[in-house]
Symmetry: C2
Subunit: 340 residues, 2 copies
């Protein structure tokens, strides 16, 4: 299959070990081209693997020239990647038949290599250590608002400027944790609160993703699975989420459809009477992108395979009261899910 | 003109005072619609001004229904905003003629209102104060590498988590400043170095942007225009950049083409023999987006008008040695450029 990767940094990086914010990758038979502009010539020539680096002011014109020169009959593109203006120009300039294949790059990247799994594992370990440091730092000075707590968490995750993070961390207190994508507020932490922390770091561009929900009794705090809440409804919800998390991981098998894994977690939560409070999917793939295929949702027909890496992250959110989520990344190996 | 704003947060915000990461705005005659999904219903109903909020799982289907219901003959879209897949679905579902107008939202936002200029002015003042604080903080502990210096600068600009920034700041030392978009390294600051700081903050979503280049003599540091370097070539380059900056601001007039302003700055630098080291445009518009129209480049035919806000930021970059840039934001008023 001949194809074009259009200005998508992670897809470009995956193809040839380098990316920048203005580049197109072209695979024509055994010829591979990385086309970028003059600002990146030096860096690209140093870092691009297995592709010819071409520098030009008009990237798309170079694509058109190459398609003509190689007399390419059919080329595949991802229609989600292209804006209309660029596509129209391409289409009107070549005789090549342009075939749409949505997500083709994501589909190729869905099953990870051994090397990729190693990098993801390292990212997860760094992320895990950061959670420990954040708990320690909260205990040093708990009397802070979410702005300050989030900033502190981000500083630790970023190792004070030396590391990239997968996304802006979410550190939300009690009722603010009820929004799955909570933004920080001036709400100050106090004894008896619940803390939800959802965060990840990057290791050599590969992402980690992790969520823990913890009880703060004024004295102690840890982001382990075992938590004791003072409120019995919260405790029941927490135990339900943990059970859904554990069961989905234990029962997941290669060969299942993604939606079957979603159902395992969802059933536990529904059975406990919290069904309508589990407002999102059970998980998503993680790799160079923090959200990628496979999506572990109630509609996903994707067949799970060994080598896939995704999150299991059931949750219960009761508006105005609390939110709970427990998330781990797993890799499918020997047909089973192993926590990274 | 009837038009659609497709999932562009700043354009959505400009139309109706609210945005989220999944929304479409539709203007049909005097009817205005903000279409989003259920996650944002509450927030949108609270904040959207002058538009009907519609919540749906399928945003584009709602657009199609509204175009049919209102029997719209012609609708304008920005072809740079739309992916092919969404566009094809729209086109194949309606009889409406779809007119392409690249950048139409940016064109509307190019001349700022009094209110917008006030917000931009406030952002600039906060940014300016941050520069002072950063200089002070460097002096407290100058023996740091670029990672640490950048992180410190970003922390101050973000007011330790309470404020948004326009972009990741650039704090580059001497030879690293030679890359206009330098990434931090482990290079440690030392006596006799030059420091280039390019940074901005947001105030109520409006951006500031500012660059200063300063000499660090081991004792003192300030980000004022007047700088004394120990190296005479750097001094000459600095004085040239400052002269280009001052002259472009002094001579800019409403009614000029943007490229004429670029030429004023470029001529100063060329005359001093540094022409080939001024590798970028003289400036860019600033508003809700950090880079927007008008672009003050050698090719821009845009006619400058009162109410436009843009940067003047000439620079000289000598690879492996040093980089210098001085940048201010100006607003055109009574036909002249006033520094914000």
């Amino acid at each position: 299959m001949d194809y074009i990767v259009f200005k998508n940094e992670n897809a470009l990086y995956w193809e040839c070990n380098y990316s920048c914010d203005n580049a197109i990758f072209l695979k024509l038979g055994s010829d591979r081209y990385f086309i970028t502009d003059g600002r990146y010539t030096i860096d690209a020539k140093e870092s691009v693997k297995d592709a010819n680096v071409i520098t030009t002011n008009d990237l798309l014109l170079k694509v058109i020239e190459l398609l003509k020169k190689h007399k390419i009959k059919k080329i595949t593109i991802d229609p989600k990647e292209w804006d209309i203006l660029s596509y129209k120009r391409l289409k009107d300039s070549v005789r090549t038949k342009i075939k749409f294949k949505p997500n083709f790059s994501h589909l190729k990247r869905m099953v990870k290599s051994e090397k990729e799994i190693e990098l993801l594992q390292k990212a997860v370990i760094i992320g895990k250590k950061s959670f420990k440091k954040i708990a320690k730092e909260i205990l040093k000075d708990p009397n802070r608002d979410e702005y300050s707590l989030n900033f502190m968490a981000e500083s630790i995750l970023r190792d004070f400027g030396k590391r990239d993070i997968s996304f802006e961390p979410i550190l939300a207190i009690s009722e603010n944790a009820a929004k799955p994508h909570a933004m920080p507020t001036n709400r100050v932490l106090k004894k008896g609160d619940l803390i939800l922390l959802d965060a990840g770091v990057k290791y050599k561009r590969y992402c980690s993703d992790r969520t823990r929900t913890a009880f703060f009794d004024g004295e102690e705090l840890n982001f382990k699975y075992k938590q004791k809440f003072s409120n019995s409804l919260i405790q029941k919800a927490y135990d339900t989420v943990l059970k859904a998390h554990d069961k989905a991981i234990k029962k997941a098998r290669s060969g299942m459809k993604a939606k079957e894994i979603d159902k395992i977690a969802r059933d536990v939560i529904e059975k406990a009477g919290f069904g309508k409070y589990f407002v999102h999917s059970t998980g998503h793939g993680v790799g160079l992108d923090i959200h990628e295929m496979p999506y572990i949702s109630s509609k996903s027909e994707t067949i799970i395979e060994d080598g896939m890496v995704f999150t299991i992250e059931p949750g219960i959110y009761i508006e105005g009261e609390f939110g709970i989520r427990i998330e781990d990344m797993v890799v499918m190996q020997n047909s089973r899910a192993k926590i990274l």
